[in-house]
């Protein structure tokens, strides 16, 4: 086994680290004894385990004379070998990718978590709404009506299916390409539009660039522009959940590029050591702006790194909504029941440009983009499955697309007309209470405006 890592087994069962090699990786999350490994385990396991997670600090000093076959080292027993052999750098075979639906939306196995009919239909509707919102907001940016936008093209299943598998009590620490999670949770089109237009009804008071959404009500932590800092935050918040003994976990999303940061490493390592309920969801979409994964790392993607940190991990087909849904459902159960982190790597091509500041046709072939858009479209694939289940019709499709477009256009038209934030919002929220220097500055600003009202911009309400 090329990527075999000699993991150290601790003495106590449930604390024991995973002992499986990557060849054990079949349908689900890499696992160990006494923990969830299969779907039937998953279905029978909803009582939360909350042991003291303090790792063993002591180890036995048992010596076997002069011919010991193993070394009792801090962290656990290591077996000796006479083979002079390095661990391989490149695997003989890449880690397999879990999927439920084939390219045309047909079930290839029954090894997945069942989705209620209503949920399945809502998932599809939200995927279409996300697509529609992305298309129209993107056009609005091109027309100069908003300054910036970023779509989730190609990652609709990742967005919606992962959101559908979570509970509203779970805390979301997004990167920036997960607006669909917020959409699923009930953030309205008007709220999205208000944020992008930075008007006075924006939940963020116009303080951030478009797409930096955030909502306490939806347990969705405000998007930060800094890449990957949210991964550490999710671990800290998971620690808070653990201390309170809550039946909830955190989930944090990040891209393949984000896994090169120190935050990614620190967060995974800390989460494993602190044993907190967090799901690390990597959207491996092949590209970090113009940097392909081949220039980003030489490991077999992201999934293999979880094992190195002592974290159960799975690779899923990000274009398969049922696979994503099943993986997140199971990961959530593991995270909460065992109070442990889980890593999911979802493979789904970034079918759009990185953002409106990017033209990806400059650095990747149009044919490649088109192939992914057509042959691996996650929305189409899920629709075909729904159709096969008798849950969707051509007429429903037409009606949905039509109404979605109208709703999004309406939201934009309303947001555009709403006044911008008032001048006082420059000063509030730096601290909980306005400090004296800002009070003075606001007073001085208002006096200046009064003296020179003819020069005052009309788009900043007093």
């Amino acid at each position: 086994m090329a990527l075999y890592l000699p993991f150290l087994r601790r003495r106590i069962g449930f604390l024991g680290m995973m002992n499986s090699t990557l060849s054990n990786f079949k349908t689900s999350v890499l696992s160990e004894k006494n923990s969830i490994t299969t779907l039937s385990d998953f279905c029978n396991s909803f009582s939360r385990r909350f042991y003291s997670n303090k790792a063993d600090k002591q180890f036995d000093f048992i010596h076997n004379g002069g011919d010991s076959k193993e070394l009792n080292f801090p962290g656990g027993i290591v077996k000796f070998t006479s083979e002079l052999k390095f661990l391989a750098d490149v695997p003989e075979e890449r880690i397999h990718c879990y999927r439920v639906l084939d390219d045309s939306g047909q079930l290839i196995s029954n090894n997945f978590v069942q989705v209620d009919k209503e949920i399945a239909v809502k998932m599809y509707k939200d995927m279409v709404m996300l697509q529609t919102m992305d298309t129209i907001f993107y056009e609005a940016q091109r027309q100069g009506r908003i300054s910036f936008y970023l779509t989730a093209n190609g990652e609709e299943a990742i967005n919606i299916a992962s959101a559908a598998a979570l509970s509203m009590d779970d805390l979301v620490f997004p990167q920036y390409r997960e607006a669909g999670v917020l959409l699923w949770r009930g953030f309205t089109l008007q709220e999205f539009a208000n944020q992008c237009f930075g008007n006075k009804d924006d939940n963020g008071k116009g303080r951030q660039m478009p797409i930096h959404y955030g909502s306490n009500k939806h347990n969705y932590f405000t998007v930060a522009s800094t890449v990957a800092t949210q991964i550490s935050h999710a671990v800290g918040a998971a620690y808070s959940l653990k201390m309170d003994g809550r039946d909830a976990c955190t989930i944090t999303y990040f891209g393949d590029g984000g896994t090169s940061t120190g935050d990614f490493h620190a967060a995974l390592n800390f989460a494993a050591v602190m044993e907190v309920p967090v799901i690390f969801f990597c959207r491996n979409n092949g590209w970090a702006i113009s940097t392909p994964v081949s220039d980003q790392f030489r490991s077999d993607g992201i999934v293999v790194r979880g094992k190195a940190y002592g974290i159960r991990s799975i690779r899923v087909d990000g274009n398969d909504a049922l696979a994503v849904f099943s993986a997140v459902c199971m990961a959530r159960t593991i995270a909460i029941r065992e109070s442990k982190p889980v890593l999911i790597e979802a493979l789904a091509y970034r079918a759009g440009h990185h953002s409106t500041s990017d033209d990806s046709s400059k650095y990747r072939p149009i044919e490649e983009i088109e192939w992914w858009r057509e042959a691996q479209n996650p929305v189409t694939r899920f629709r075909e499955w729904l159709r096969g289940e008798g849950l969707w019709t051509t007429q429903a499709e037409t009606e949905l697309r039509d109404s979605a477009r109208k709703e999004v256009l309406h939201a934009i038209q309303v947001a555009e007309k709403v006044e911008k934030p008032t001048v006082k919002e420059i000063f509030t929220d730096v601290y909980d209470v306005l400090p004296s220097n800002l009070r003075d500055q606001e007073k001085s600003l208002r006096e200046t405006i009064e003296r020179h009202s003819q020069d005052y911009p009309i788009d900043v309400p007093l």
Partner: protein, 365 residues
């Protein structure tokens, strides 16, 4: 002065190991108070330890995290006894990377906890700068108060003794320039107790700059200071010594140097007013300006680099608000504009000394 302090410090490090953890506060407190028959004394270390202990007892959401804070009791024994008293869930030994545990502390603060993050020294917090600035300082504003960040970043700042450039820098000016942060720098045990309690109770991020050489120094404390309700308001400077001829502003260890300089100046009939800033941000401009309007002369003292330093900010404040009151140019004393050299003789020359303050004050009279 420096050598004397160093000696005290070494004694305390030696005395720091072992002992019954939960009774540490009372035991050491009794020891230090028994050394003086009438006035109670407490070291800065004890002040910080007791403040942490009391705030952790008062609020279950408060936790301490960092490298070596638990089993080892803190690199400088500031967290002595806290692991045994409050348990490993709330006194968290972390893996080594400031960027990691700072980010994780901030995430915990985003959702209900009130972490105190200890840096072994603020020099190492440079690794965590992204989180302190981008994730802590700006988040309440950027999230439109959806996310508040009640967190304290604390640890020794500035020069210790003989530890070279990467352990000896003062970061007061760095943090002091960032909106969203509050930046505190205690000098005495009273400051340490009152300001740390205020920092922990504050709803936003606070950078708390301690000084390694002061940990072992004992200061007299009143009954009020040792009371568990004691707290010092953030943003108010303290006039340590009244005077009428020249104002000396300083913070942290330099307050002690300034008070010493004032004693020497008094021998020559110069009555200096010494201001302990306590708070770098917000800066108590009114106390500073009020003093300068009275004395008409100003010396600023800090260990940090002079360019864009705390002294520079104070100068600007005086130029803006009290320029007409100045009878002499402001004298600004800072560390030498070089990375800290290791050799003791050079290190001494790179740091402000009492005699530098005396000379500067005399030049103004």
């Amino acid at each position: 002065m420096l050598i004397k302090i160093l000696r005290q410090y070494q004694v305390h490090v030696v005395a720091g190991g072992g002992g019954a953890p939960t009774s540490f506060l009372y035991k050491t407190f009794r020891n230090s108070s028994s050394s003086s028959s009438s006035v109670k004394k407490m070291t800065v270390r004890e002040a910080l330890n007791s403040a942490l202990d009391e705030e952790m007892s008062a609020d279950r959401r408060v936790l301490l995290m960092g490298e070596e804070v638990g089993e080892y009791q803190g690199a400088y024994k500031v967290s002595k006894g806290l692991l045994q008293k409050h348990g490993p869930e709330r006194v968290v030994d972390t893996p080594i990377t400031e960027a990691g545990f700072t980010g994780i502390g901030i995430g915990a603060a985003y959702y209900g906890l009130r972490p105190v993050v200890e840096f072994m020294t603020f020099n190492f917090a440079m690794q965590a700068m992204d989180h302190i600035i981008n994730s802590a300082a700006k988040t309440n504003y950027m999230s439109a108060a959806n996310i508040s960040v009640p967190i304290v970043f604390r640890g020794p700042n500035g020069a210790a003794a003989g530890v070279g450039a990467q352990h000896s820098q003062c970061y007061a000016a760095w943090y002091g320039s960032v909106p969203g942060l509050k930046v505190l720098a205690p000098y005495s045990s009273e400051d340490a107790r009152g300001l740390l309690k205020a920092a922990i109770r504050d709803p936003g991020p606070v950078v708390f700059l301690e000084n390694e050489l002061l940990y072992g120094e004992a200061f007299p404390v009143s009954d009020e200071v040792v009371d568990s309700s004691f707290c010092i308001p953030i943003g108010k400077a303290k006039i340590e010594k009244q005077g009428k001829h020249v104002t000396i502003t300083s913070f942290s260890k330099m307050v002690g140097f300034s008070l010493k300089a004032a004693e020497i100046l008094a021998e020559d009939g110069i009555d200096a007013e010494v201001i302990n800033l306590r708070s770098i941000r917000p800066l108590d401009r009114s106390t500073i300006n009020g003093s300068v309007r009275k004395t008409n002369r100003l010396v600023t003292v800090e260990e940090g680099f002079p360019q864009h330093g705390v002294g520079a900010e104070i100068c600007a404040s005086i130029v803006e608000d009290s320029f007409d009151y100045l009878d002499a140019p402001v004298e600004r004393i800072g560390g030498a504009d070089v990375p800290m050299p290791y050799a003791a003789n050079l290190e001494r020359m790179a740091l402000p000394q009492v005699e530098d303050i005396v000379r500067a004050a005399k030049r103004l009279i």
